[in-house]
Amino acid sequence: MPLMRNDSFVENSYRLIADDEAIPASGDILVPLARLEEAEGRLTSSQGRLGIHVPNTVKPASLTPLFNEVALISVAFPAFNDGRGFSIARRLRRNGFNGTLRATGPLIADQYAYAKACGFDEIDLPEGLAARQGDDQWKKGASAISLSYQRGYARSSSILDRRRAAH
């Protein structure tokens, strides 16, 4: 599925392994939490990268012990207006996850800046949506609002900080 990363569509190397599918021996793969151990058994780090795909009902704290075991955490967005993933991302980053954070679902370009600010590195989108909203819309979405008010989010600066600096 099309992957939005750094304001462009890029190759999506991770493959989501279906529940009834065998864990392949190589390649970047995404598995649900329940199959993580199995996947770790099959795949060594030289054969490919391992990521987990979690629903947006996951308790972020439960993932902390796994941070060193996975290169990527994918958080499901069942709908673009279900914003739970934004809080999940924020908590995961706060808890120290330094790997790749992915939002998976029908997010729209207008949410790109929010996703980034909350700590997402990339967004895995449905085909149809990516077709409707090309690169340029995502670039625009990322930069539509040049400065925002909230402090402490993953952004260059906030209005409050700029005001502080100006004095």
Partner: protein, 553 residues
């Protein structure tokens, strides 16, 4: 009042440009209708019964004469010459075209106004006491806090796709005129009893609508500097745990009700402890910078009694009545806050024509240092009027038919637009308000009845706040006809109470007589000086039931 700096201006202009682009992308199919809907709602644009409706934000109800004039211009240029002031201190235009909305937003941005987040599942307009800064019983002006929260909540990256809408209200006085207990978060500015440090009492989970609930205290005292971190913690808990399976169970009040305040408090306090408060808190200087905009004006040194006012009141009974009914006690000697009624007898509550808006702006410039307030009871306040000027003001208002002396009385009715305008409504509400007002038009009779707040909602969403009306009226559909249920004893203040249902619904025609019977019962029962609400609390609901049973005959 707050003035935008270059950051605020850029922010609003960028948001307008973004909305313009969103409209274009809707038209060219980049955005589906489902994707566009929340985006347009987040810019205050509804699709209503007859047309679009644009809800413009009036942050904490404060606006300048210049802004009021621009609202009048917008009404004339892109709408049908009038607007409606709402129960959340905003203004609504009922007839904009989608194609015109970006231009309207530009016109708003010109005067530092916007329609950001006046709808949608995000944090809405932060409302406040309409007498902020001038009320005699105020601990601290809540508006700097409200302005800080307005900025903090605007296009928040984490809290823009909440389970449902989120409403915050702030009061700085002991008497709550902002209905904070009926809000998702209510903030009361107060002094710590021991240290005298200024901070906030925080309540959560209030709300009206389908499941009316009074907010519960989650924090007795929150130090000022912890405001943004604490609210971030609370919003994060709500964003994560709030129900998303059922639109009617998605407000934070349901989460508090179903989980229990103890557990919610624990979750919020845990989150608050875990997050890095220093990285998200506002600089103390920032709140000071904002507060400077709300510094009291340079009041003239006036005696507390104005002889010219006394004289004028003695000479003119109608004027005296206006002062007594529409005046509010001011902090500064020789001054008064005047509430201008937008409830002329037989008019649509809260509506103002563009001419009336301009008259209000002129009155404000001439008599109130260029500032106005919108109240959540759909009236307009002129906050800085000198007693010496009251007669001149009243004469001016009378000339413009804005001098109805009914504030707080039975004809000062709150009504949502109802089915005459709103796509969500199940019945009409404005005609009910009009009929009641006409029945009780006599000013002498109104004076005898005294303080009585009637609130009317045209559907279960309760935008008319009927649950917290002394008399509440809720319109429902019954067997294909409009039917009105009456509740009694609602209270929007610090003694917040949800009204109790009186009996079966009555028809539109029966409403005014039913109200009359209720008033008659009250007048028969009351002790000296008792308001309707006091008598009701003393004698109870059953005593009033006769008002409805009589119609079954």
């Amino acid at each position: 009042m707050y003035r935008y700096d270059e950051f605020d201006r850029t922010f609003v202009n960028e948001r307008v440009a973004e909305f313009r682009s969103q409209v274009e992308r809707r038209l060219d199919g980049s955005l589906s209708d489902d994707e566009f809907k929340p985006l347009r709602l987040m810019n205050g644009l509804y699709l209503q019964l007859h047309a679009y409706m644009l809800r413009v934000a009036i942050p904490y109800g404060t606006l300048s004469a210049r802004q009021m004039r621009q609202l009048a211009l917008i009404a004339d240029k892109w709408d049908k010459g009038y607007g409606h002031f709402t129960t959340r201190q905003n203004i609504q235009f009922n007839w904009p075209k989608l194609s015109d909305v970006p231009a309207m937003l530009d016109a708003l941005a010109e005067v530092e106004m916007h329609a950001i987040q006046t709808s949608g599942n995000c944090i809405r307009n932060v409302t406040a006491d309409q007498f902020s800064g001038v009320a005699f019983d105020e601990v601290e002006d809540p508006r700097p806090t409200a302005e800080l929260l307005r900025q903090w909540s605007s296009l928040h990256p984490e809290f823009t796709f909440l389970p449902r809408k989120f409403k915050i209200a702030v009061t700085g006085a002991t008497h709550d005129r902002a209905a904070i207990k009926a809000h998702d978060i209510g903030l009361r500015v107060l002094r710590h009893p021991d240290t005298h440090e200024v901070g906030y009492q925080v309540s959560v989970g209030g709300g009206l609508g389908r499941t009316p609930l009074i907010g519960k205290t989650i924090r007795e005292f929150l130090p000022r500097n912890d405001l943004l971190p604490y609210l971030e913690a609370l919003m994060r808990v709500y964003n994560s745990e709030g129900r998303r399976d059922n639109k009617y169970k998605a407000r934070v009040k349901i989460l508090v009700h179903e989980t229990g305040i103890e557990e919610i408090r624990k979750a919020v306090e845990d989150e608050f402890a875990a997050l890095d408060g220093a990285s998200v808190a506002a600089d103390p200087n920032e709140l000071e910078r904002i507060a400077a905009y709300f510094a009291p004006p340079a009041y003239e040194k006036l005696p507390s009694v104005s002889l010219s006012l006394q004289q004028a009141m003695q000479n003119n009974a109608a004027f005296a009545r206006f002062v007594e009914t529409n005046g509010f006690k001011h902090k500064a000697p020789g001054y008064r806050a005047i509430t201008v009624s937008l409830k002329p007898i037989g008019g649509a509550p809260g509506d103002a024509t563009s001419d009336e808006m301009r008259a209000l702006a002129d009155a404000s410039d001439q008599f109130s240092l260029g500032e106005l307030r919108v109240t959540h009871l759909q009236n307009i306040v002129l906050p800085y009027v000198k007693d010496d000027d009251l007669f001149a003001l009243w004469s001016f208002l009378t000339e413009h038919r804005l001098a109805t002396a009914n504030i707080g009385l039975i004809t000062d009715i709150v009504a949502c637009p109802g089915m005459d305008y709103c796509a969500l409504a199940t019945t009409r509400s404005i005609p009910i308000a009009q009929a009641i007002a006409l029945k009780f038009a006599d000013p002498d009779r109104q004076k005898i009845i005294g303080e009585l707040g009637i609130k009317i909602s045209g559907c279960i969403n309760a935008c008319g706040h009927h649950h917290i009306g002394t008399i509440g009226i809720l319109g429902l559909e019954k067997f294909g006809e409009e039917s009105y249920q009456i509740t009694l004893g609602g209270d929007a203040t610090e003694t917040a109470t949800i009204g109790e249902r009186l009996g079966p619904g009555v028809t539109a025609d029966e409403v005014p007589e039913t109200i009359e019977r209720l008033v008659d019962i009250y007048l028969a029962e009351r002790n000296a000086d008792e308001r309707f609400i006091d008598t009701y609390r003393r004698v109870g609901l059953d005593r009033f039931k006769g008002a409805i049973h009589a119609t079954d005959a």
